[in-house]
Subunit: 168 residues, 2 copies
């Protein structure tokens, strides 16, 4: 009789254990759609950050613009060496505003990857008007690696771009 | 007595269940160092692919070069619209060889991210010698998003670059 009780309880416990394991597996399987949803949410955060990027550019505010980058961000501008660190990023954009950058409009084309780092491909339209001259428009494209920072904000971590316009 | 046996077996089973759960957690925690090791391996694969990239460029073999890209790769060359798909990638490099590209040397600076997609930042030295002219050297930088394909090979999925040289 004791043996029968033992067997019953043993089978019961193994059953519970299996159900528990199965639950964990199901949870793991359910993570994928959540991740897919995450990417849509990340894209929204990126697009919101790009609006702030445009606002900072229109105000000629290099400090506000640099605050959208990570502390150790890498900037890879055309006709320049690679720049690393937020201070260098701020100095670069301050120089750009002095040279006449008036407006930067960024449009996300694609967001890929997952985790705490994603890649954005986008199109950029930059309006430049040096003092006393006509405004010119540069149409280009970019790749930005966005990194999720400790407070949950997505920031530009790697930023490279080039022009679509033919060589002059 | 039956109750005592029940309690003993129950405690035993809960214990086994907890040990089992703990094992799963430890396994999850152990995944991180493996991932770090993975990134070093991925960097090695990328550097090997970059050697093949250089060899294909030196041979002026656009087909071999394009085979290093994913089927739906995006190429973002300066002074050009965005190009998508391996066929377009091949046509672009074929055009580059016709224009006089003789050598491309790629040097990896940093590899970041994880999973099936990683970001490489690098430096590029491109030697161009149009027919009957002196060779010129373009020094630039690039960002490549590498994607792990079904057969385990890492291929260029997004490729953007620009020059370090000042505007002429």
């Amino acid at each position: 009789m004791k043996f029968k009780v033992f067997c019953t309880i043993f089978v019961l416990c193994v059953g519970i254990s299996l159900i528990s394991c199965n639950g964990t597996q199901e949870q793991a399987e359910q993570e994928e759609p959540e991740q897919v949803m995450d990417l849509a949410q990340v894209r929204q955060s990126i697009e919101e950050a790009n609006v702030k990027f445009g606002e900072a550019a229109s105000s000629g505010d290099a400090t506000a613009l640099a605050s959208l980058y990570t502390e150790d961000a890498r900037l890879l501008p055309p006709n320049s060496e690679m720049i690393q660190g937020r201070e260098g990023v701020e100095a670069f954009w301050a120089g750009g505003f002095q040279m006449g950058i008036k407006e930067i409009v960024l449009t996300t084309v694609e967001v890929m990857g997952m985790g705490d780092m994603v890649c954005e491909i986008g199109k950029a339209v930059v309006t430049i008007q040096p003092e006393g001259q006509e405004a010119i428009e540069d149409i280009g494209k970019y790749v930005v690696i966005w990194k999720k920072t400790a407070d949950g904000t997505w920031k530009l971590h790697v930023d490279i771009w080039n022009t679509n316009l033919p060589l002059q």
